[in-house]
């Protein structure tokens, strides 16, 4: 099997359809380019906005001397802590605000990545790593490699392809995180089943996770207690969440499902908040931006097409429909 065959096999595996042979019309290409440019700009507006609202926390963090620095901020041990923290805040705010206005400069995009990376390292240097901003760091890193002149009105073919490739890499990384989380849940559940323990495959799995989290933090959530008392409602929800997470990477090759899958993952994040008080608001923004925006076309809604495109169940339902129509 040569590389081309392997690529086609990979496409068929993830997309569930043969390698596309049709080419996009000029208007479609133009629409795609404009959408890609919009996604990049909106991303930099978003991180600029995050940097601006972070200034409210400056007085608290500047007094923070109990740091257990993560490796990117380990240099802070060699300077007066307050000055080190102030330098990171200034780098973060200054670079993010400037990149909102000049996203075309690769140097600025690089400095912005450094600023975000340093700021998140600092924010997680109290002993616990929170993961809500990790995807933002990765996307900022990938966007350093945007082609020169990506923001111009008329783009050469090579620039268009490189822009699309960069967006694709950001989308792939976002979806990969969900797929890996899904794989981990399945592997861990199989391990727990083998040891006779309650796992996510058990109706009590999710209620126990919610109870464990609420008990550990001593917090109370809006719907946590309600769900803990209704395990038979939790069970299909949890299996659905694992399905959504596990097959997320497949969706990268199925643009028809982009918006609906993103909506599903956003609902999953909201459910995590209402039951366990864990909120990944930054991730919901990235999902909305990179998937609902990418899918914004004037195609009519077709439920059958969407259902048939679903991983795992789609082919089965397609056959059932075919058998019924014959």
């Amino acid at each position: 099997m040569n590389f081309r065959d392997f690529r086609r096999w990979g496409w068929r595996f993830f997309a569930g359809a043969p390698w596309p042979t049709t080419t996009a019309s000029p208007s479609e290409v133009q629409h795609q380019v404009a959408t890609n440019q919009l996604m990049v700009r909106a991303f930099y507006f978003f991180i600029g906005f995050l940097a601006i609202i972070s200034v409210k926390g400056w007085p608290r963090t500047l007094q923070q001397i109990n740091l257990i620095p993560l490796w990117p901020t380990s240099w802070i041990s060699f300077v007066p802590t307050t000055y080190g923290i102030l330098a990171i805040h200034c780098l973060y705010l200054g670079s993010c605000v400037l990149t909102m206005i000049f996203p075309g400069s690769r140097l600025l995009r690089f400095i912005t990545f450094l600023g975000i990376f340093q700021w998140i390292s600092l924010d997680n240097s109290l002993g616990k790593i929170s993961h809500s901003m990790h995807l933002v760091v990765f996307v900022a890193f990938i966007f350093i490699f945007l082609p020169q002149e990506w923001d111009h009105r008329a783009l050469m073919r090579q620039v268009r392809v490189r822009l699309a490739q960069t967006i694709w890499a950001a989308q792939a990384l976002i979806l990969l995180t969900y797929t890996m989380a899904g794989i981990s849940k399945i592997v861990a559940s199989l391990h727990q089943v083998a040891h006779g323990e309650v796992s996510y495959f058990h109706p009590l799995g999710l209620p126990w996770v919610i109870a464990g989290r609420l008990a550990l933090t001593g917090s109370d959530s809006f719907l946590g207690a309600w769900f803990i008392e209704r395990p038979w409602l939790c069970w299909p929800m949890m299996l659905g969440a694992i399905y959504l997470e596990f097959f997320s990477f497949w969706i990268l090759f199925r643009p028809k499902l982009y918006a609906w899958w993103a909506l599903g993952l956003i609902l999953f994040h909201l459910a995590s908040y209402f039951t366990m008080t864990i909120l990944f608001s930054q991730s919901t923004f990235l999902l909305a931006l990179f998937f609902t925006c990418a899918a914004a076309r004037s195609q009519p809604f077709n439920l059958r097409e969407l259902v048939v495109a679903l991983p795992l169940f789609g082919p089965v339902l397609r056959r059932l429909w075919c058998a019924k129509s014959n």
């Binding site: 616990k128 993961h131 090579q158 391990h191």
Partner: protein
């Protein structure tokens, strides 16, 4: 001359197209390598516990359902703060920040460090707990309890063991 010029133009065009394609391929391979790196460095098999490599995700977050587990907690025996009653649980003491995931993480890490007699980690997490949350002169206990999450959530008592009793270092 004209023919040579035309041949060299064509060669130049071909090499320029070739170099552009090579750049595209290199970039594509670079992105694939980044995905692979994120996948490998973030992959932390849930059946073993290890430290995650920042900023790569630990994919195993919330991958296991807690069954019978050892929970660690901190009980405040006496403090200089008159609003806090004796023998109150740190999380219910009303001290700012004690209801956060960070505080519970620090308590669990401290408990684990005491249970495994890891003196370096005991020092690190004790210092962090005292500096971030405990008022001057607080006398407190670190307690371990073996329970299911449901027992813990319903506040049923389990097998409790006092691991340590300390006064906040000045």
């Amino acid at each position: 001359m004209g023919v040579n010029q035309s041949i060299s133009d064509k060669k130049g065009l071909r090499s320029s197209v070739g170099s552009r394609l090579a750049l595209l391929r290199r970039e594509r391979l670079g992105f694939l390598a980044l995905l692979l790196l994120a996948l490998l460095l973030g992959f932390d098999p849930p059946i073993r516990s290890s430290q995650e490599i920042f900023p790569f995700y630990s994919w195993s977050m919330y991958s296991t359902v807690p069954n019978i587990e050892v929970f660690y907690s901190v009980t405040l025996i006496s403090t200089s703060d008159l609003n806090i009653g004796p023998d109150s649980d740190l999380r219910e003491s009303g001290i700012k920040g004690t209801e956060t995931a960070l505080c519970s993480h620090i308590v669990q890490q401290l408990g684990r460090a005491i249970a495994t007699r890891n003196t370096g980690n005991i020092k690190k997490w004790r210092h962090q707990l005292e500096r971030l949350y405990l008022p001057e002169g607080t006398l407190y206990q670190v307690i371990s309890e073996k329970q299911t999450p449901m027992q813990r959530w319903k506040k049923e008592s389990g097998e409790a063991v006092v691991l340590a009793m300390w006064r906040r270092a000045p």
